[in-house]
Amino acid sequence: AEYRGYNHQLEQESTKYFIPSSLPLEVANKVEEHGQPRYLEDEGFYVGEKPVVLQQNKNILESRLLKHGGSDWFGPDGQVDLLPNPVTEAPTKPWVDSVDELDPCIETTYVKARGTAVEDKYFPGSDENELQIDIGTIIFQHHPLMSREHVLVSDITKMYDEYRIIRHKNYITFYTDKLAALRNAAATLKETLDETTMTEDAFSAQRTHINDFTAEIRRTTQQLASAESAERDMMRRIIEVWGDIKSIREKQGYNNTSVKLVVKREEVNYQQDVHHWELEVENQVSERKEEYDVTIAIAHQEEVRKYQVQLQEWKQNRLKLKRIRKKMQRGSQENLLDPNSEVGFPVEEEELNIAGNIDKPQKPDKPAPFDKDAVRNDVMNQLLANRRNPGEAKISLELTHTVNITPISSVPALESSRRRAMQKSTMSRVLFNGREVFLTDPKTLTSDFKLNFGSIFRVRIAQWPESLKVELLSSGLVTRTLISSIFLTIPPTTVHSGNVRLGPTEFLSTRVESFNHEGVGSNTPFTLRPNDASPTSINTKGVIISSVSWSLDQDGRVLAPKGFVERDDPISGGNPLKINDPVIAIGAEGLQDPESLTKWVKESRLDPNDPENAALVPFMQGIKDGEGFPFAQDYFRLEQLQEEFNFLTDEEFSHLNRLRLLQLRDKEVAEFRNISMIPCNEHEITESAFTTYERRLKEKDSLQSIDTKGLEGGALSAHRVEVLRFRQKVKDAVLHRFYTSRHHHTLQDMVHEEQIPDIGTLGSSMAKIVEPRRPLKPIRKTRKKATSQNLNEGSVKILINVVRGYNIPTRQSAHAHQQNRRGAVQISSSSLMAGQTLEPNSKSFLVSPFVAASFQDTVVTTSVAQGPNPSWNEELQLPFSAPNNDYSSSNLQKVDDVLFIHLFDRVTEDATPTDTEDPTTIVTRLQNYWLGSFKLPFSTVLSFESQEDTELLAKCAVFMADCNKRYPTRNVKTTVIDIKGESVLITRFIRALPPPPELIEGLNPGSKEATEKLARFVSLIPFVSDNVTYAGICDLWSTCDQFMQMLCGDEEEHAILLLNFFLHLGKQAYLVLGAAVPEGNTAYVLTLDQTARDYTIWNASTGQQYFKGDPHTPLQSVGALVNDKNIWFNVQRQAMPIRMHFDVTRPADWKPFFGATATPLPSIQPESIYFPPTDQSYVSNLVDVIERTLKDKCKDRIVSWRPRHITRWNRSGNSILRQIAKGLEESITKNDGRASEHNTQILSQLGDVRFTGYPMDQPFTNVESIVSAVRSTEVHKIQDPDVEFSMAVHIHAYPSSVLAVWVYVAAIVNTR
């Protein structure tokens, strides 16, 4: 390449490149038209400030632009057109630095990073929450260091307090005055009563007035008598105890207490007293006479009058019937030929039967006449017992503290060591959510066993309060021992330190303490009085005077967490609204009145921007306006133009069926839960979709407002209504609770982790290889579980394997005997297994039994087998369809259909009509006779929160885990869920309870009869599975009083009640947790004799008992035994009761939950249950109702079940059956055969008939269930044209409205 010099390059460049010059240009070049620049600024225009650019740069730019030929870039002044500087000097957003101006709603708080912020345990947001706890005084009613004298003094002080209250209220004077006034009034009324001068109306009105007064006088007299006797009784008891104290002081020779009883006497005038006394007696006698006249005599007259009317009617009826009978005899020939007349036939038949003497009215008995002397004696005796006798001094008592306590120097050594022990200091420790937050100063006991702490302190809390516990500790040399722990309740947010008051909380400690000095100890037996036969033992108990409240800050704001709702008791009416209603949620619940609410809002200075307070905004605005109508604007919200722009009004909106349906489904209301398809269009949803739901709501309402009269024709007594109401309440509360808690998921619910195989699992899988292929005793393998999503209709079936039967009762040749056999099956129980109690009968014919299973209206049957010990070996398949086609587990548990398994006897009867023309044909008829049945419902369990000590719960968990590891299939429970939804240790349910006294009256408490009678009583309480009541939730245990109140329960409730009765009888009895056929996991009762060799197992819900060695016990495996002290898990190899030892003291056989030294925990059962007597009139009414339902309405009952046949009633049969039915309850409780013999005799009165009877007993629940039971006998399917039916209902009433209903249905075929 040729080298070119640098100069050459520059030359070349200068021809091609343009380099703008930095020198200023001619102005004329830049200004276009006139060549003269205009200076706008000088002309007065605003040009703005131009940005600063270097002149040099500007020149370069200009020359380049000019070269380019763009003269329009220049302004009139010859400069480049520059826009003013866009940058403002001052920032547009002012810096906010002063804290005062900060809007409270954008305030931020610094929150430390912490691990558990996600959990609900901590409060959201700030932690400015403070509890103020005031521990005032602790007063011991019993303390281990009390001497005998102290115990008595504590007794007498308590009684004296009661006495003072009685005295203060002065009932006696009150009633005496009232009585005098009433008598006066009655007397004046009687004087003015004059038949001649008064009109009829006025006369009768006055009459009723006087009657009212008489009744009131009677009532007041009784009240006075009881008040007097109470006071006398109390005084007598106080004086007795005082005598004891005196004797103890004398005996020990020193005083421990300063108590002294002063008895004041006031002498009275004897004559005057006697006068008063006699006057009173006369008064009372005359009043009784009057009462007699009114209530008994008049009622008798009324009855007699009624009787006469009835008699008249009856006579007329009889005449009429006679006429009908005559007419019918004449017309019967035509009737038979005319098919249309058949419809009317049974009615006439029935009326014909009435013509017996059965319905003849009874003449009422004449009541006993009024016996004046007897009444006078009675009155005198009562007065003598209750009232101050004439001449007796008036006594008043006063308890003073004037006795000197003997100083410590002059008491014996034992006593002085007791007093020294009292010098030990006690302190109390407060634990919040299980952590110690405060410890009081140590204090010593005062001589009257009080501890004055008087310490107030505040706890700032960051966690939701769960528990607040006060522990009393006595300090020893090295350690501190726990005397007692007391749980205080967390107050609702309305309770703050400004309005709280000190209140008492009782506590009780079951700790055992005994001393070798004079202190009596706690929970250890000691003899209180020297002449006491049995030692007493008292637990440490007392009262703590304390208060817990939320603190107030300087502005008077309550420092309580927002949205804190204390746990409510479902029984006492939990308020589900609480969460939804903002007014209640913030704790202003009590303020119903809007004015006071406004005031409250004003005082509490709520934050108007807090959404929780949104509902209160109108109230706040009312205050701001200061005007009189703050409440007219409760529609005013932030959304001002809402109304105008709404598509439709609220009214229309709330009537939308689709919306309603969707919402109800979302709320999981029972009727709508899991509906999968909801019609898309409004018009496709009919009102009928809601009818069942609305009916249920109505029923619920009506249950609340129900009157005792009028329902089901009086079939519900007051007690039953009460029961229903209680049951509904509990059910609602429980459902609500479980609904809210259902959404608490644990990690295990969400994450499924397969167990990684380790050495252990590897080993067991290796062991599988050497296992026998076909073991002799195969273990039942569970079928593979199908996931519920893949299920659809028709793919689910219930499989029933019917294997064999044994001891099936057989037919008997004698017609009348038929009844006995059938009766026996039913009586022994309604279960297939039951036949075993029968002795084989050699005289019997064969039987052709078959099994029919029915579920959801589908019936499948096995083939017919022969003989009393048939073997079917068949598998029955029943199609199963879940409601709404939803197969989720919660929905399946809701299924309350019951699987019935019936046993029938197929009889082939010769039905060849005698007058047929063709003698070569034989017509037979198949007939099924019902022998027995049982029902099966479904089950599951869930776990729940608890009030138990956490240590105990942990121990339970360990025990359960251990048990499950050893024998995973055995049923064992340590805690169960009570009706409040809390888990409770199972032993707390067990406590000896006295049974109704009527039941064991006159029986030896240990005798077999007594136990059987109790079992019968318990079995008569209706059985309702918890799964049906509390659909899809869990198994709840109720205490015996709740059980008796609800009058329904499942196996556990029955078993516990029976067990508690047995314990009261002094038997050694246990609750057996195990598995049985057909119930599955269940609870039975076990009673042992003294040596634990012989035992009896009781099925409490059926009342059946099974003795030792009975191979047919339904109980298949025993998991655990429970009594009030302990739980024992079965660790024997065998779980069948027949192969087990029941000696719980053997640790090799039974693993106890508590150690040997543990003390029983206090029970949650009441000390005793009140069994109200059953209303007899109600019972007779009920018999009537059932009979009417079955018979009088038979047109739609039995008759309707057999539409193609004539249904005739055999009247004489009815009365015979009634007699038998009455004897049946007797015979079952006495369990003898004599009754049945007797029945045979009665039946023979019927004449030569083929008799098929079905006596059934069941606990009374409702009329419907009785009807369905009658139906299940299939008595109506008998097709013999000559069949006649008879029926009788008998109800045996036990106390507490427990009723045994006997229905005896019979088909009678006249063989003559």
Binding site: I106, E107, T108, Y110, K112, E639, Q642, F645, F647, R658
Partner: protein
């Protein structure tokens, strides 16, 4: 009755300082709106990605609203939280978006912010964690004056929502 179905998921979050995150979310609608089915608030699990520059939750949202008016169209508000190696949680950001008002599938990115604290708080945050939080979290979707608030921009949350509308045309609303 006009109905709105919102079906979708919280897909995940990205561009945060670190990605061990979880999210609390909620839907807020005006007074005319009634929730018929589904849950309107919840919390995702903690996603702890090893190398990813984003956290994935794929948390389902399925809500069904009925409404009698347009006001108070539902909006989704979020809180993104960070869980550190000690298992402690601290707030990483607030965010909110309206549920789209046109039917169909929408992919939404919701930006988040967190409030600044004082110098001392920032210092503490740097060394021991923790974060200033709003005393009143409703501020996130309420239109109160929040110009005084100082915030720091944080990452984005990806949301995918399918919106189904019914009967709006009946009331003269085109969509």
């Amino acid at each position: 009755m006009a109905e709105v179905h919102v079906i979708g998921q919280l897909v995940g979050a990205s561009e945060f300082p670190s990605h061990s995150l979880f999210c609390k979310w909620g839907l807020h609608a005006g007074g005319a709106w009634k929730l018929i089915a589904g849950v309107k608030e919840g919390q995702t699990h903690v996603d702890n990605p090893e190398n990813e520059q984003a956290a994935y939750w794929s948390h389902p949202i399925d809500v069904h609203y009925a409404t009698k008016g347009l006001q108070g169209w539902p909006r989704l508000h979020l809180q993104v939280w960070y869980q550190d190696i000690h298992g402690r949680n601290e707030l990483y950001g607030y965010g909110f978006v309206h549920v789209p008002s046109s039917p169909g599938c929408h992919t939404i990115e919701c930006v988040t912010w967190k409030p600044n604290g004082t110098f001392q708080e920032e210092l503490m945050q740097y060394f021991v964690g923790g974060c200033p939080q709003l005393k009143n979290p409703d501020l996130v979707y309420a239109g109160a004056d929040r110009y005084k608030l100082h915030t720091t921009a944080m990452g984005k949350v990806q949301i995918r929502l399918n919106v189904i509308l019914r009967n709006f045309d009946k009331y003269g609303v085109e969509c």
